[in-house]
C-alpha cells in the first residue's frame, strides 16, 4: 500500500471514493490536505476507467450474438415438438386463477394482436370454413374462448354470430372466462374422471377446431395444468390457414410469463417466448 500518507493510505482513500469508508476514516481524510490531494488523483484514475466504452457496432454485435445462438443450436439440436400433457383434474374450488394470470393475459395480449392480424390476413384469402358459422371465417381470436364458453353467462356475443374483429377488451374478464374454460376442458378431455362434476349433457367443445383435433386423437384439449402449482391458460385462439392454434400463458420457471403458440392439429409448440 502507498505509505506516502502516514495516517491515510490509499486503501482508505479508495474506500472514501467508493463510499465504503467509516466516518472516522472520512474525517481523517478531510483533515489532511495531502490526503485530499491524493484522493483527487485516485478519483481521476477511477474516472478514467469509468469512461464509457464505445459500444460495438450493431452489425458486429448482431453477428456475435448470432454466432453464440448458432452454437447453442448445435449443442442442443433443433427444437423438437413438445407433446402436450393432459390436464390434471382439480376440484372446482381450487380453480381460482392466480393473480399472476392477469399479468399473463396482459402479456399475451400483444401476441393476441399479432395472431389476430395474421389470422385476419389469412382469412381474407380463404374460402369459408366448413366448420365455421361466421361466414367470413378465419378471424377467431382471443375472445373466442370468451364467446364460446361464456356467452350464456356473461352476455358476450357468442362465437356463432361474431364475424366482427375480436374485442380485446374481453380479456379484461379473462380470468372468469378461463375458469369456465378450464371446467369445460376438463369435461371434454377427461369425462371419465371422478373428480370432475358430471353433467347430464355432453359438453360442447370449446371451439370447433379443437373438437376436430380431439376427434383425430392428435391433440386433445390443450393442457391447463402441467404439474402441481403450475397453471396454464389458453388466452387466445386463432384459425390459421394450416389449422387452429392457441396461445397459452403459464409459469416461466423464473421471472416473467411463458407464452406458447400451440398447433392443435399437430399438438406441437410453434413458438415460445418469455415476457
Amino acid at each position: 500500500m502507498n505509505d506516502d500518507h502516514s495516517t491515510v493510505d490509499d486503501e482508505v482513500l479508495s474506500a472514501v471514493l467508493d463510499g465504503a469508508a467509516t466516518p472516522d476514516e472520512r474525517a481523517r481524510v478531510q483533515a489532511s490536505p495531502e490526503a485530499l490531494a491524493r484522493l483527487e488523483q485516485l478519483s481521476a484514475a477511477s474516472a478514467a476507467v469509468s469512461a464509457p466504452v464505445p459500444p460495438l457496432e450493431a452489425e458486429v454485435a448482431d453477428a456475435l450474438v448470432a454466432r453464440a445462438l448458432d452454437e447453442a443450436d448445435r449443442a442442443t439440436g433443433p427444437a423438437e415438438p413438445v407433446p402436450l400433457r393432459r390436464p390434471e383434474p382439480r376440484p372446482a374450488q381450487e380453480r381460482a386463477w392466480p393473480a399472476r394470470l392477469g399479468v399473463a393475459v396482459g402479456a399475451a395480449a400483444a401476441i393476441v394482436v399479432l395472431v389476430v392480424a395474421v389470422a385476419g390476413l389469412a382469412g381474407q384469402g380463404r374460402s369459408s370454413s366448413s366448420d365455421s358459422a361466421q361466414g367470413s371465417g378465419g378471424q377467431v381470436t382471443a375472445d373466442d374462448a370468451v364467446s364460446a364458453e361464456s356467452a350464456d353467462a356473461s352476455g358476450v356475443a357468442g362465437g356463432s354470430s361474431a364475424p366482427d374483429p375480436p374485442d380485446l377488451g374481453a380479456l379484461v374478464d379473462a380470468g372468469a372466462v378461463l375458469d369456465r374454460y378450464a371446467e369445460r376442458s376438463s369435461f371434454s378431455s377427461q369425462p371419465e374422471d371422478a373428480g370432475v362434476e358430471a353433467t347430464t349433457a355432453a359438453p360442447e367443445p370449446p371451439f370447433a377446431e379443437n373438437s376436430r383435433a380431439e376427434a383425430s386423437g392428435a391433440c386433445p384439449v390443450p393442457p391447463l395444468t402441467t404439474g402441481p402449482g403450475e397453471v396454464w391458460a389458453v388466452v387466445a385462439t386463432a384459425q390459421l390457414p394450416d389449422g387452429p392454434v392457441v396461445v397459452m400463458a403459464g409459469p416461466a420457471g423464473g421471472p416473467g410469463t411463458r407464452l406458447l403458440v400451440v398447433d392443435l392439429a399437430t399438438c406441437t409448440v410453434l413458438a415460445e417466448t418469455v415476457r
Binding site: 490509499d10 485516485l42 477511477s46 476507467v49 469509468s50 466504452v53 456475435l64 452454437e71 423464473g254
Partner: protein, 176 residues
C-alpha cells in the same frame, strides 16, 4: 459485457474476440446456471473468465493499440506496440483512451479485474467479491492498490510511476 472485455483486453479486436468467447461461454453454461447467484453476477463471472482465458490463450497481457509516448524503445514488458494500430483515426479523446488502456494493461490481472468491475461496471465490493470469489476485504484492498498504480501511471509526473507503488514496480510504458 463488451465494456468489460474492452477494458480488460485493452483493444477493440481482442475485446471483440473476448466478447464472442464470453457469449459462447454464457450459452454453453446456461444449462448449468443454478440460480444460486444473480444472473448478472454469474454473467459477469463468465465474461471475466472468458476474457482472461482469451488473453492467457494468446500468452500475453492486454495489447494496447497505439504507441503512447514518443520514445522508440519498449522494454517488452508493457503494452505491445503494433504498427498497424497507428493507422487508427485520432480524435481528441484517443490519446486519453489509449493512456487509460495502457495504464490498465500495465496492471497485474489481480488488480485490473476488480478495478474494472468497480469503475467500469459499477459493481460494489460485495458483488465483486461474489464474481471473483474473494473476500470483500481483499476486493477493497485490490481495488485500492489498482487505483493507486493507475493514479501514478496517469499522473502528469509519470516519473513517480515506478517509485510510489508498493514494491511490485510498474511494468511497461507509462501513459503521458
Amino acid at each position: 459485457m463488451h465494456a468489460l472485455s474492452r477494458r480488460l483486453c485493452g483493444n477493440d479486436a481482442d475485446a471483440q474476440d473476448a466478447t464472442q468467447e464470453a457469449l459462447l461461454a454464457l450459452v454453453r453454461g446456461l444449462p448449468r446456471f443454478d440460480h444460486r447467484a444473480a444472473f448478472s453476477t454469474w454473467a459477469h463471472r463468465v465474461a471475466t473468465n472468458a476474457c482472461l482465458d482469451e488473453l492467457r490463450r494468446r500468452g500475453r497481457r492486454p495489447r494496447v493499440v497505439a504507441r503512447l509516448d514518443s520514445s522508440p524503445a519498449n522494454d517488452g514488458t508493457g503494452p505491445a506496440l503494433d504498427p498497424v494500430d497507428r493507422a487508427v483515426g485520432v480524435d481528441d479523446s484517443v490519446p486519453e483512451r489509449l493512456a487509460i488502456d495502457a495504464a490498465l494493461a500495465a496492471l497485474p490481472e489481480e488488480f485490473r479485474v476488480p478495478v474494472v468491475l468497480r469503475d467500469q461496471l459499477g459493481l460494489d465490493y460485495a458483488e465483486i467479491a461474489e464474481v471473483l470469489d474473494l473476500p470483500p476485504g481483499t476486493v477493497r484492498s485490490r481495488i485500492a492498490r489498482g487505483r493507486s498504480r493507475l493514479a501514478d501511471l496517469l499522473a502528469p509526473d509519470a516519473d513517480r510511476a515506478g517509485n510510489r507503488t508498493d514494491g511490485t514496480g510498474v511494468e511497461g510504458t507509462t501513459a503521458r
